[in-house]
């Protein structure tokens, strides 16, 4: 047990934060290995942020324990934070301080931050550090939070919905940064409520609902169980390959119209693409289901009541 804790980047044992009335996080047993990218998935209010605040020692557990690199998250909070880079769910307000001053302020508290690393991160995300924080757009505030989390090259990154507010180009840049960071030997714990995001970068995922961890899966398993809603429009003079579509693996709930079909695709798109390969397709739209729809499909239960995280 002790060896397991020491070897794990994150280890929790029956970790509980009970806010009463069924709200909070309950009996979380989690093990995130060193140099792993772990996606923490759950709808709003499922307990993701509570878990992260427990790991960061911001809130005290009602029961159970949490360890990071073998250090107790409450007792050894200061030592833990030497090893961790943290990106909170809500970017705090720094008022009239300039971006560069915010970095210098928090970097000064931490000590040993390499200015060149900060500069390289700011350049990468095109974040002008000379502007006052107050004038930043929400995307720029999120970029600043990314710089603050990564500036000291931590061994573990704890990121609470890190791409919220970022445009698609910067999201891609962020995913690239995550991959590079993982390749450099860091562990990443990333919360999200977007399936495709964790699919981009994670080795494993944990699915949280109503404050309980209900599933820990490898990425391949996620890909098998997830689905897309697809709409295909064929050219007016084109016949729809209905037989091939019905026979295609992973294609379900097929509805055929005059020139249009809708269906859901589970797992790989290979079957669908193979079925329509010989036809002239004028439009193809694939929509990712919301996490609630995913849960409905996966667990066969209606949408869960939202809980404050």
């Amino acid at each position: 047990m002790l060896l397991e804790m020491a070897l794990a980047a994150i280890h929790t044992s029956r970790l509980t934060k009970d806010y009463g009335a069924g709200h909070g996080l309950f009996d979380l047993d989690l093990h995130v290995a060193d140099q792993e990218v772990f996606g923490y998935l759950g709808p709003n209010g499922s307990g993701k942020t509570t878990t992260i605040r427990l790991l960061m020692g911001m809130v005290r557990p009602t029961a159970g324990s949490a360890h990071i690199f073998g250090l107790d998250c409450v007792r050894d909070a200061v030592e833990v934070k030497r090893k961790v880079g943290y990106l909170p769910g809500d970017v705090p307000q720094f008022g009239s301080l300039r971006g560069g001053e915010v970095v210098a302020y928090l970097g000064g508290m931490r000590g040993g931050v390499d200015r060149r690393n900060v500069q390289s991160l700011a350049e990468r995300f095109d974040l002008d550090l000379s502007r006052p924080f107050r004038e930043y757009s929400s995307g720029n505030k999120q970029k600043l939070a990314i710089v603050l989390a990564f500036m000291h090259k931590p061994d573990l990154l704890i990121l609470d919905e890190p791409t919220s507010g970022l445009d698609p180009l910067n999201q891609q840049e962020f995913y690239a940064l995550l991959r590079e960071t993982r390749d450099a030997g860091a562990t990443i714990f990333l919360s999200s409520h977007v399936l495709s995001e964790v699919e981009h970068v994670c080795d494993r995922i944990g699915i949280l609902r109503s404050g309980r961890l209900v599933k820990v899966a490898e990425l391949e398993e996620l890909r098998r169980i997830r689905f897309h809603r697809v709409e295909v429009e064929f050219a007016p003079d084109e016949s729809i390959p209905e037989t091939q579509l019905r026979a295609a693996p992973g294609v379900e709930n097929l509805a055929v119209g005059e020139h249009r079909v809708t269906c859901t695709v589970h797992g790989s798109f290979d079957g669908l693409l193979h079925a329509i390969a010989g036809s002239r397709v004028t439009d193809l739209v694939s929509t990712e289901p919301s996490l609630e729809e995913f849960f409905l499909s996966f667990f066969g239960e209606p949408k869960l009541k939202a809980l404050p995280s």
Binding site: R82, S96, G107, R110, D128, L129
Partner: protein, 540 residues
């Protein structure tokens, strides 16, 4: 109507707090009158004379009372005049909170998105404040009526309504003026700019009682029109024209603020300096102070500390220059000459200056501590504390650094105001004992630390309630020292008031026991706040 209700909802705690404070202070002053003024006509006449002497010392702050030997005259002077100032501060905080604070938090944007016009929003928030200040004024009036009844007397309802209406009108005009000024200032300077304008208007009127050359300008000040009435004492009067002018100022300033609000961008001031293009910078600040604990906090708060230092320095100059005229007034009362001759041997001018200046300085240092506690609370609710705690710093270290920053800031302010007081009094021909002045000025630091210690505990316990509860604590402390002897409160209870513990160090030196008690209170506050911080959840 919905906007007015929403404005009332946002400002409900201010309304409740100021109503309670107004009611308590007026009741205590009214009931206290019957305790201290005596029952016989002779006792009351003597009491009235002593009040007139006291009023002469504060002629630069409050208008001289009419018939302070009566409950109406006394409470008008000791209760309602200071309340007008307190309501002006409330108006300042509410107006700038709406004009810039709510805008910063996105509340204004959401309200405008509902289809409410900007002018309607300004009018609605002004109406909401008008309701709130009418409630608080009515609470003060009701407390006066109850207090007078407790003394077996009665008061004319019309007089009470007039004094309440005046109080509400001056507060409302301050609200509108502050809201107007806030339209022209940048977000970070709006409160300071509106505060400076209101303070200037107040001083123009009050100082005109001491400096005749200011009389030509006092018509600009809403406080002038407040001073035109003193409805409570026998022989008092209510100036209807002055009241109408106050309402007119409120209406005009509200309309102007609405027009200005319509002409500016959200988040920007009406007057913007053109900004020049400059290439982006990707480097963090290289300034060394960010790496040094306490120094980085002082640097971050530098504007605030400079403003506080300059403000206190200016007031020090003012009090030094007023001292001689105050003493002249005192000496012109024949009955007081034998009494004052005792002090003449012990230097009358330093005694009066020490009493007036350090009384005001105590209030300002308490206010400085409260603003710092407000900042700690904001750090907590805005998420900055969570960000600081994500760095390898213990909670105890953060509390200790906060206190160290406050102590250093208070030292700077005390030093600058003390030096200014020394030179300005010297230029007036008043020679202060340097050693006493240094120790008296330094005593302001532990005095402020008492409030900081209590505030630190409150901010650790409940950051959202900290400022309100600390304000109530400061108010109770002030009442404790003002009324402790009148109501014969136990000595230990009186000793809990930092105002009492401060004493009169310029005249009689520092009382070691009181200094030790102040430091003990501050240390107890900090120690318990560290314990409370360790045990609480942050960001939850």
């Amino acid at each position: 109507m919905t906007s007015v209700l929403f404005g009332l909802r946002l400002g409900r705690w201010g309304m409740v707090g100021f109503s309670a404070a107004a009611a308590v202070s007026i009741f205590v002053q009214t009931a206290g009158f019957y305790q201290v003024a005596g029952q016989s006509a002779g006792d009351r006449a003597a009491f009235g004379a002593s009040m007139a002497t006291l009023a002469a010392r504060f002629v630069a702050l409050f208008p001289p009372p009419i018939r302070p030997d009566t409950v109406g005259g006394y409470v008008e002077f000791r209760g309602f005049h200071p309340l007008a100032l307190i309501f002006a501060v409330w108006a300042l905080a509410s107006a700038t909170g709406f004009a810039r604070g709510d805008e910063e938090r996105g509340i204004v944007e959401v309200a405008l998105a509902t289809g409410t016009s900007r002018i309607a929003l300004v009018a609605a928030r002004t109406a909401a404040f008008a309701v709130a200040i009418c409630v608080a004024s009515a609470a003060a009036g009701a407390a006066f009526v109850v207090g007078v009844a407790s003394g077996g007397e009665s008061v004319e309802a019309a007089r009470v309504i007039e004094v309440c209406a005046l109080l509400a009108a001056v507060g409302l005009s301050c609200y509108a003026l502050a809201m107007l000024v806030a339209q022209f200032a940048a977000v970070r300077t709006a409160t300071a700019a509106a505060g400076v304008v209101l303070l200037t208007l107040y001083l123009v009127n009050s100082l005109s009682r001491a400096f005749s050359w200011l009389e030509t300008w006092r018509w600009l000040s809403p406080f002038r029109y407040y001073d035109l009435s003193q409805p409570l004492p026998p022989g008092g009067y209510f100036d209807v024209r002055g009241f109408i002018v106050l309402i007119g100022i409120a209406a005009l300033a509200t309309a102007a603020a609405g027009v200005a609000f319509q002409r500016r961008d959200l988040g920007a001031s009406l007057v913007r300096l053109p900004s020049h293009m400059r290439p982006p910078s990707y480097a963090p600040s290289a300034a060394p102070w960010w790496r040094v604990p306490v120094v980085r906090g002082l640097y971050e708060r530098r504007f605030g500390i400079i403003v506080w230092s300059l403000g206190l320095a200016l007031l020090a100059v003012l009090f030094a220059s007023l001292t001689k005229s105050i003493v002249q007034v005192l000496l012109s009362v024949p009955a007081l000459v034998p009494y004052l001759s005792i002090f003449v041997r012990q230097q009358l001018y330093p005694a009066v200056l020490g009493y007036t200046w350090f009384n005001v300085a105590q209030l300002l240092f308490a206010a400085f501590a409260i603003t710092q506690v407000a900042r700690w609370s904001a750090e907590d609710t805005d998420g900055r504390l969570e960000m600081m705690l994500s760095e390898p710093l213990s909670r105890a270290a953060i509390v200790a650094e906060r206190m160290a920053i406050l102590t250093a800031g208070a030292l700077v302010i005390a030093a600058i105001s003390g030096v200014t007081l020394y030179y300005s009094s010297h230029s007036q021909g008043i020679d202060l004992n340097v050693q006493r002045l240094v120790t008296a000025s330094l005593m302001l630091v532990p005095f402020g630390l008492v409030f900081a210690g209590v505030g630190s505990l409150l901010a650790a316990w409940n950051p959202r309630a900290a400022v309100g509860v600390l304000g109530a604590f400061a108010f109770a402390s002030y009442l404790d020292t003002e009324l402790g002897t009148i109501y014969k409160l136990p000595l230990w209870l009186q000793d809990l008031s930092a105002f009492k513990l401060f004493g009169t160090p310029l005249v009689s030196g520092v009382d070691g026991r009181n200094l030790a008690l102040m430091l003990a209170l501050a240390i107890a506050g900090v120690g318990s706040s560290i314990l409370a911080m360790q045990r609480r959840d942050v960001g939850a």
